[in-house]
């Protein structure tokens, strides 16, 4: 068995302190393997986003370990963690998070700009990613002038631009109508299938969850069931 790309051990997240302390995650231990597609499902407030943020190294656990490729990340320097996020992960956020005053192409190439890639190279790869998502004709548009589905496609293009090993998507279809949702789902699973990207999807959309190989079902900060196999 290969080393899991992501694994956690007794992961705990507590918000607040003393009497106001809220245990958002209550000791989670699981593994995500390379090339898997995993859905994190559960009711609102069950701790899905909190878990995803910890896995994506956006936040630090109160206790417990997150390991990337078998190496615990808790002791790493913030700068190294930033670089890891930039190089290894792709993000699709629930609320798009596009910079409205920048063009679609600029939004898509932001991770490369942060990584220090030259403008020419950035634009080349950005156009390629946009073509992949059939958004090339909108490259020069302002990000605000797009429909919801188009925005989400731009977000996916941005998440793909640095050839990530793991793609995190928090409610990727939460803001979209059924038809557009399906398109976005097709794109995500197409990438998973064709490029072997590891998918970690947070959702309460049953359909989307069903398409994943594995489902972690959460309730009150705990994984109550695990469905599917690798």
């Amino acid at each position: 068995m290969s080393t899991p790309v992501l694994e956690t051990e007794n992961l705990v997240k507590v918000y607040g302190r003393g009497s106001a302390a809220f245990h958002a995650l209550k000791g989670l231990t699981f593994e995500i393997h390379r090339g898997e597609s995993v859905a994190i499902v559960g009711k609102s407030g069950s701790g899905k986003s909190t878990l995803m943020h910890l896995l994506a190294l956006l936040d630090e656990p109160t206790s417990g370990v997150v390991a990337l490729d078998g190496k615990p990340v808790t002791q790493l320097k913030p700068k190294k963690v930033s670089a890891l996020r930039n190089e290894t992960f792709g993000f699709v956020f629930q609320q798009f998070f596009l910079n409205p005053n920048q063009s679609v192409l600029e939004n898509v190439t932001l991770p490369l700009k942060i990584a220090g890639v030259s403008k020419i190279e950035r634009d080349k790869r950005g156009m390629k990613a946009l073509e992949q998502l059939e958004m090339a004709d909108k490259a020069k548009n302002k990000a605000t002038n797009l429909s919801g589905g188009q925005k989400q496609r731009v977000c996916i293009a941005r998440a793909l631009i640095n050839d990530p090993e793991v793609l995190f998507a928090d409610e990727p279809t939460g803001n979209l109508d059924t038809a557009t949702s399906e398109t976005v789902e097709d794109i995500l699973f197409g990438l998973h299938r064709d490029h072997g990207i590891t998918l970690v999807v947070v959702t309460h959309d049953e359909d989307l969850a069903a398409k994943c190989q594995r489902r972690l079902i959460m309730q009150d900060g705990e994984i109550i069931t695990e469905e599917g196999t690798r």
Partner: protein
């Protein structure tokens, strides 16, 4: 993120909210403008002074005046009948006495002493008979004069120079025509009768910033001759007193300090031409520094403008910052990006401020010192000059101030937690 991308992004971001940036830049602009003008002014005047006095480096004289210790003396000195007016007439009056001169002559390394006396003139008569009222400049000021034709009078001969604007009185079209003419000087004696002496015009002067050359400059000999006439008919002894003495020193460079110290012991104050220039320049520098102080206050106020602008900008862009951090931008780079925005504002303000300050300075200088301008009568006067060191210094100073001002908001941006920033509505 690459350095050039940081700069480009910072520049783009400052242009997002144009009015706000503009208002912040204005404050910097005012400071930069003022600093550019004041340093340019100081540089211009100092350069003029240097240029004018360049030729006097070989002057081997120390100019002596009585030491006036204003701090030690409040009100007039008490009358002392023992002091004896005739033995030390100059004491306390700002004049040198005959005994002072004797003392000076005895100091080591002193070769000769020439004295400056106040000579009174009734009129000066040009060759064609026109009589004109005029004061005489001090004979020992000759070293500070700017001669545009002919040369300075020989201190030992009956000679003098004429200011440039007397050309008409001589009916001359060029200064050269006046050189070699002979004028008659009418001087009053103690009882009001006029006696005349003749003097040859050896040169024509243009007034300088040191206020020398706006009146005829007589030779030392001529001054003494006129003084003799002034004293005629005076009953009793005419107490000799001198305004100033020029002391010729052997090897001035080596003995300057020794002679000055010896003079100080006698209650006298010795200054070389260089010292006088230095004093003059110090006054100009002081004025420039005071003006620069006001500009610095303006810059201080402007720096708060930068802090305010960027704090607003950081607040508005919380989400964008969170996104950049989530996508792997390090806190250091976020700090760098916002500091760079402050620096860009600083650069915009200083480039426009310094540029327009220099332009305004040179235009004003041209207008004021033009032939027919209000200050056109001064020789070689330029009020404004480009001092690359000062301009570079101002630029760096403003950029440094902007950077410092930006560091507070930039730190705030760098400290933002990506998750909280992304949750921010």
């Amino acid at each position: 993120m690459k350095a050039n991308d940081v700069v480009k992004s910072a520049f783009g971001n400052t242009l997002r909210s144009k009015l706000r940036t503009f208002l912040t830049v204005i404050a910097i602009f005012i400071g930069a403008f003022t600093l550019a003008v004041t340093t340019g002014l100081a540089a211009g005047i100092n350069q003029t002074v240097d240029r004018i006095f360049e030729g006097f480096g070989d002057d081997e004289s120390i100019y002596v005046v009585p030491q006036m210790d204003a701090s030690e003396q409040d009100g007039p000195p008490e009358y002392d009948p023992e002091a004896g007016a005739d033995t030390d007439a100059g004491f306390g009056t700002g004049m040198l006495s005959a005994s002072d001169i004797e003392t000076i002559e005895k100091i080591d390394h002193v070769l000769s002493v020439e004295t400056e006396i106040a000579a009174q003139v009734e009129y000066i008569e040009t060759p064609d008979g026109g009589q004109y009222v005029s004061n005489l400049d001090f004979a020992l000021n000759d070293t500070l004069a700017e001669v545009i034709a002919g040369e300075l009078p020989d201190r030992g001969a009956m000679e003098m120079t004429i200011p440039e604007d007397w050309m008409e009185a001589f009916g001359a079209d060029s200064p050269e025509e006046i050189v070699g003419e002979t004028v008659v000087i009418g001087a009053p004696n103690a009882v009001g009768q006029i006696s005349e002496v003749e003097a040859e015009v050896t040169g024509v002067t243009q007034g300088t910033l040191a206020d020398v050359g706006f009146a005829p400059i007589p030779s030392v000999e001529l001054t003494h001759e006129i003084f003799e006439i002034n004293g005629e008919g005076y009953e009793g002894q005419n107490p000799e007193s001198y305004i100033m003495a020029a002391v010729e020193v052997e090897d001035l460079e080596a003995n300057e300090e020794a002679v000055k110290d010896a003079l100080a012991e006698e209650g006298l104050w010795g200054l070389t031409v260089e010292d006088q220039i230095a004093m003059f320049q110090q006054i100009i520098d002081t004025i420039a520094w005071v003006l620069a102080g006001f500009a610095l206050i303006a810059l201080l106020a402007a720096s708060f403008g930068i802090v305010n602008t960027l704090l607003m900008s950081v607040q508005e862009r919380t989400r964008e910052i969170g996104l950049m951090k989530a996508l792997g931008m390090s806190s250091g780079k976020v700090f760098g990006l916002f500091s760079m925005e402050a620096v860009v504002i600083g650069i915009m303000g200083s480039v426009f401020g310094i540029g327009l300050g220099l332009a305004a300075g040179f235009l004003a200088d041209m207008a004021l010192t033009a032939e027919d301008g209000p200050l056109g009568g001064f020789a070689e006067l330029s009020l404004f000059a480009f001092n690359p060191l000062a301009v570079g210094g101002i630029f760096l100073l403003i950029v440094a101030i902007a950077f410092l001002a930006g560091s507070l908001p930039a730190r705030r941006a760098a400290k933002k937690d990506p998750i909280e920033a992304l949750r921010y509505e």
